[in-house]
Amino acid sequence: MRKWIVSVVGLIFGIYLIYIPDTAEAGKKRTFEEDIKQDWAQKVCSNPESKVPPELLDKFLEEQRKLIKYPESGNIYGDWKRGEKLFSNPKKGNCYACHCADPKELACGNLGPNLKGYGKKKKDPEYTYRKIYNSWAYVPCSVMYRAGVHGRLTPEEIADIVAYLHSPESPINK
């Protein structure tokens, strides 16, 4: 009987030990309050017109431009095939949520412009890179999320999407 109790207590203690790191992890769980904390730009954009007051516009644009970083290699034109996957992946670019692009993808949103033939019309990959990295450096308070600023896409991943949008091989430009 004693042995039983000892082993059961031991087992419970063992399970407790296993779960300690888990509860520590749970303690770090993000909360709603943390997630609704805003950066300065988000605060400025939080008005019914979703516009930056004119007197703040220069400062706003300058700050947003400063946030743009480039890949270490300096190459902003990556691999279009990788870019294609990142573009459609809901956990990465999730670009089809708002844009149509490859005509084969029918489940595409219309908050942003249709990107079909993008590379034929736009000839400046660096602009594309910067716009994806931080749309607010071009259109303050735009509905387009700042993929690079928030780290949802790395500089290298953005470079791949740039290639997908510009490459003549890409289905977008066929």
């Binding site: 769980k29 993000r30 909360t31 709603f32 943390e34 997630d35 609704i36 904390k37 805003q38 988000q42 605060k43 954009c45 939080s46 008005n47 019914p48 979703s50 089809y96 949520a97 708002c98 029918l106 489940a107 595409c108 949103g109 219309n110 908050l111 607010w136 308070c141 509905v143 999320y145 700042r146 928030h150 780290g151 949802r152």
Partner: protein, 266 residues
């Protein structure tokens, strides 16, 4: 009951099959079609069954022997504290709990304070199983009446201001706000889903609503949590002040709208 769920499963799986091959359709027409389809197959709308379920809970005794009906009367039509028309004035400040409450929080508070439920036991999923049908039933008692939320109490005004602030706040890694999707881009599509215009449609008048795409009854708290999830912001827990605040903002914008619960939405 089993037959009901089997039928539901059948119908919803049919809907899914339809929606996979789906192209862009007029969302209002689509809702009408799905409603008609469900009525044909089941002979009754799932939301109406949930109202009945809520009615049963309303008259069921809690741990201390009291039911909702003990205070509010049979079918909520008592002489004291009747609930007919109550929903059309919510969220509202309640003296007994010294809080502004939406319908979810009001019901949960009653269950704890007057029916003797252990708060721990009803704060999670088990609680939702009872609170959602109850909310649907109680809200339906205001059907046909006009939404008329007033900001008389200072705490109500404060809640409204907090809700307005949240509505316009650009937050999280997607830089979204409620207003971006539901004011500025209301009517546009995220993928194939048309974004609702809750202010224009006086949204509070038809929630809680049955969502045919999920085969679930949702209160506005469920809906708000769903929105935050979609914009990658950690969801506020149920009964959190953010739910009350946002509903206060939407309710004031729903004033004048005629209550029609349960709603039927995608």
């Amino acid at each position: 009951m089993i037959i009901r769920y089997a039928l539901l499963a059948l119908v919803t799986s049919g809907m899914l099959a339809v929606s996979i091959g789906e192209e862009i359709k007029d969302p209002a027409e689509e809702v009408k079609k799905q409603k008609k389809l469900l009525l044909e197959v089941m002979g009754v709308l799932p939301g109406d069954l949930i109202v009945e379920e809520g009615k049963e809970y309303f008259h069921k005794k809690g741990p201390n022997g009291k039911s909702c009906a003990s205070c509010h009367g049979k079918d909520g039509k008592g002489e004291k504290m009747p609930l007919v028309g109550a929903y059309a004035t919510m969220p509202k400040y309640y003296k007994d709990i010294d809080k502004v409450a939406d319908i979810d929080l009001r019901i949960k508070s009653c269950m704890e304070k007057y029916l003797g439920y252990d708060p721990k036991k009803i704060s999670g999923k088990a609680g939702r199983k009872v609170i959602v049908p109850l909310a649907t039933y109680v809200a339906s008692l205001s059907n046909g009446m006009k939404f008329n939320v007033k900001l008389d109490h200072p705490k109500e005004k404060e809640m409204f201001e907090k809700g307005k602030e949240l509505w316009y706040a650009r937050v999280g890694k997607m830089d979204f706000s409620c207003a971006m999707c539901h004011d500025k881009y209301g009517g546009y599509r995220i993928r194939l889903q048309t974004l609702a215009k809750p202010k224009e449609s006086k949204v509070m008048r038809y929630w809680p609503a049955y969502r045919y795409s999920k085969d679930k009854m949702w209160t506005m708290e469920d809906r708000i949590r769903g929105c935050y999830k979609q914009i990658r912001v950690t969801r506020p827990p149920f009964y959190h002040w953010a739910h009350v605040a946002l509903q206060m903002y939407m309710a004031v914008n729903s004033n004048g709208g005629v209550v029609e619960v349960p709603g039927f939405v995608r």
